[in-house]
Symmetry: C2
Amino acid sequence: MADAPPYELHYWPSIQGRGEFIRLALEDAGAPYVDVARLPAAQGGGAQALMKTMRGESGHLEPFAPPFLRSGELVVAQVANILQYLGPRLGLVPADEASRLRAHQLQLTVADLVSEVHDTHHPVAVELHYEEQKPEAARRAAGFVAHRLPKFLGYFERVLERAGGRHAVGGATSYVDLSLYQVLAGLRYALPRAMARVEPTVPRLVALGEAVAARPRIAAYLASTRRLAFGQEGIFRRYPELDAAG
Amino acid sequence: MADAPPYELHYWPSIQGRGEFIRLALEDAGAPYVDVARLPAAQGGGAQALMKTMRGESGHLEPFAPPFLRSGELVVAQVANILQYLGPRLGLVPADEASRLRAHQLQLTVADLVSEVHDTHHPVAVELHYEEQKPEAARRAAGFVAHRLPKFLGYFERVLERAGGRHAVGGATSYVDLSLYQVLAGLRYALPRAMARVEPTVPRLVALGEAVAARPRIAAYLASTRRLAFGQEGIFRRYPELDAAG
């Protein structure tokens, strides 16, 4: 019997972005995968190849946006949909329907938070640079830091509390836990002053983040060159003027 | 054998909002359901009862936001997650995994569009009134009308084209088709001038909307008092100053 082909992740090659939630799940499971756009152009990689696919030139119906995953004949897009597909295959979600629905619901709430983080620096239009929407970004970020950030993180803290404290869903690490780690890491990069105020109010979430970072395959991944650095092109960007002292 | 208990939809009682995507699926299927917050307060209805649940006073872990569905012991939140749960039970999605993943992916893209529509009138903060963010809304809406609206609707048009023209997924009406109808209806209410320009470019989508509206149970629902009117409190709001002449 031939080995199953590796998963193909298709995402922008130079940023963590939304693709990172998929990378963390594949890495934690030790799953065989190819991060296609990070291959050399001669092997089909590069941002140009990804853009060509997104323009529909592959012959397939392109998804609306990256990331997407190829698994054999299937093409799956939307981060939460990909994780829902991978979860059972990677052992990163409990088997029962109630837990899977719950994990997916939490992942969709993570996605909502990620969109709101993105819009702190792009409140007017994704087609414009941050520098073209700075006054609007200042207002949006202030509201995000004052209201939305504590609301979202407080919600996930209560989720952990009611689930026993250590995992978002069930009694073991799920893809939701991995995504919550990524959100914490990104928020600490982007909004360190705001996070310094909020973190003491969400101790279970902070402990979860530490536990995920210490998982052997995640620790090895984070120390590797496969883990891209945070920067000024992804979801989580450090603009000190948006990180209000409160 | 006792009848299965009806589905309980929990959503704000005075707006279509995100709950409408669930109502349309339940109505199209002729499924037994209770729109709980629209019951009299003495029967557990009203916005106050919903807010009490959302504050966690029910003893359950509240979802992050309405709508949510109770089905027996299960509580399912997030519109796309609810529709994914209901789809097979209501006969509103094909049976095979590839089609279900695809329907869910498209529904998540609908959710992204809905969020962007909301942010045309609330680009700064959901906690503020529109009147407190009018300059920012004007900028965001202009970009939405110029770039995002044609991009999203053009994408769904291509989805229909590649699927044979009449349905988003498979050979029959799915919950995605019902949601696309609702998006079209809402956009026509909110942005009639912008839609008058875009609609000629998306003929399959327009025809799909007409076909959904003509389905007997949907037509009966739309003519009933169960269908709330569009207004200035939901996702789709008519602020003429945001509906640029282009």
